[in-house]
């Protein structure tokens, strides 16, 4: 596998009226093409900040990020499905294309194909309120994929769904990401979800944030996340992650 980017000695400081806050002390890791990586850590440890820096919404204070491909595009998927409820599903899905002014015939056809492939075609003219939470999450993923990103960035993407839909949608989303051959980096607080979806899991310390461990998850490659939960090593990894986080509380 080829490296797609590496983060080297990244540091992030925040300034408020009364204080200077060191959010991220020192972070270094690499991301490989086609890989699914998860980041877990105590709440408030700067996981979302890391994603914002990666996608250029926030600036880093020290360190650098090396990209091994030109013009790497990021697709950001947020915690809530963030649908504009006055627009139809179709208008929501092409929102990114519309804002970036790249509503070309080719791009629109690609979106159409995605909707058809993932069973959302018949809801094109419906409004977000008429869809279930899980379906909206899938729409949100297609909205992100519409921009043809190289790396998908997922910020606790299933945390607002109920447990069962969360399981189901994470299965669907995983399948879509693998089929479209995307690289993905996900922040989550759900350890089981991190293990069942990822190739590698990074555990972070509490603020100021550093890397505690990076675990490579070994298992049979072609199974779905739900089946991965039955893997014989699942509880072993769960214990490892749990210990890392429990130390931090």
């Amino acid at each position: 596998m080829n490296k797609i980017l590496s983060i080297n000695n990244l540091q992030k400081k925040y300034y408020t009226k009364n204080d200077e806050i060191l959010a991220i002390k020192n972070l270094s890791f690499e991301l490989y093409e086609g890989e699914f990586i998860s980041i877990v850590g105590p709440s408030g440890c700067g996981k979302s900040t890391l994603l914002n820096i990666l996608t250029n919404i926030d600036k880093l204070t020290k360190g650098n990020i090396t990209y091994y491909k030109d013009n790497i595009k990021f697709g950001y998927m947020l915690q809530s499905d963030s649908m504009l409820d006055w627009k139809t599903i179709w208008e929501n899905v092409i929102l990114g294309l519309d804002i970036k002014k790249i509503k070309t015939k080719e791009n629109l056809e690609y979106v159409d194909k995605l909707l058809k492939t993932y069973g959302l075609d018949e809801f094109k003219n419906n409004y977000p309120k008429e869809l279930s939470g899980g379906m909206r999450q899938r729409v949100a993923l297609i909205r992100t994929l519409a921009l043809k990103p190289d790396i998908l960035v997922l910020d606790e993407p299933f945390s607002k769904l109920d447990y069962q839909s969360g399981l189901k949608v994470s299965d669907d989303v995983y399948k879509i990401i693998k089929q479209e051959k995307k690289t993905a980096i996900m922040v989550t607080h759900d350890l089981a979800q991190a293990i069942s979806l990822s190739d590698r899991v990074i555990t972070l310390s509490k603020r100021p944030c550093t890397i505690k461990n990076i675990y490579k998850i070994n298992r049979d490659k072609n199974l779905s996340p739900i089946e991965n939960r039955k893997d014989k090593n699942f509880s072993y990894y769960y214990d490892l992650l749990w210990k890392d986080l429990a130390d931090e509380e």
């Binding site: 996608t55 947020l78 929102l95 990114g96 804002i99």
Partner: protein, 223 residues
Amino acid sequence: MKSKEYINYLKKLKRKKVFILSMQILILLLFIILWEVLSNKKIINPFLFSSPSKILTTIKQLYFNYHLITHILTTLEEIIIAFVLGMVLSFIMAILLYEFKTFNKIVDPYLTMLNSLPKVALGPLIIIIVGANTKSIIVMALLINLIVGIMSIYNGFNNVDSDLIMLFKTFKASRFDTLRKLIIPASVKSIISSLKLNISMTLIGLLPPVGENILSNKYCSKY
């Protein structure tokens, strides 16, 4: 094919709607009748409270002898001008306040002051500045509806879901696009409620004892 139960359910809904409407009309009729009777029997002072029949005769009289329509049109024109102007100005002002935070901080104390000011007290001043004509009535109405309009539209802008704003950030949307495609359409509800507020505020500004009272010559409130 609708089931029998469903048809019954729909009928029930319709009956309820008819009931509500007829009750509303009934209350209005009762009010007018009660007013008329009480006034006739002198239980309430007919000089102070008048009565529906007297109001009708007066309207008829005004219509035939004093060009009531001209006066109504004049007032209506003032309402429309003050209302439209008020809406447009408060919309523009709310956008400026939302987009330029420093400007917002600078003018904030002045807006608060203007809002708490009893604007009616400024009536005579406005007449001196603008002149004793329709203009000063419109200025008066504007003064009253503008601040409330700005505040309610601006609050609507501020209440837009922060997740949606984040979404636009992830698309690297420009400020103008964020405003045009997110902030304004997401605040339609608060803009409409501000429209409603604005109508009543405009009327307060125009009608006695405010605008037209100060210079009543060709206006509705004369009567």
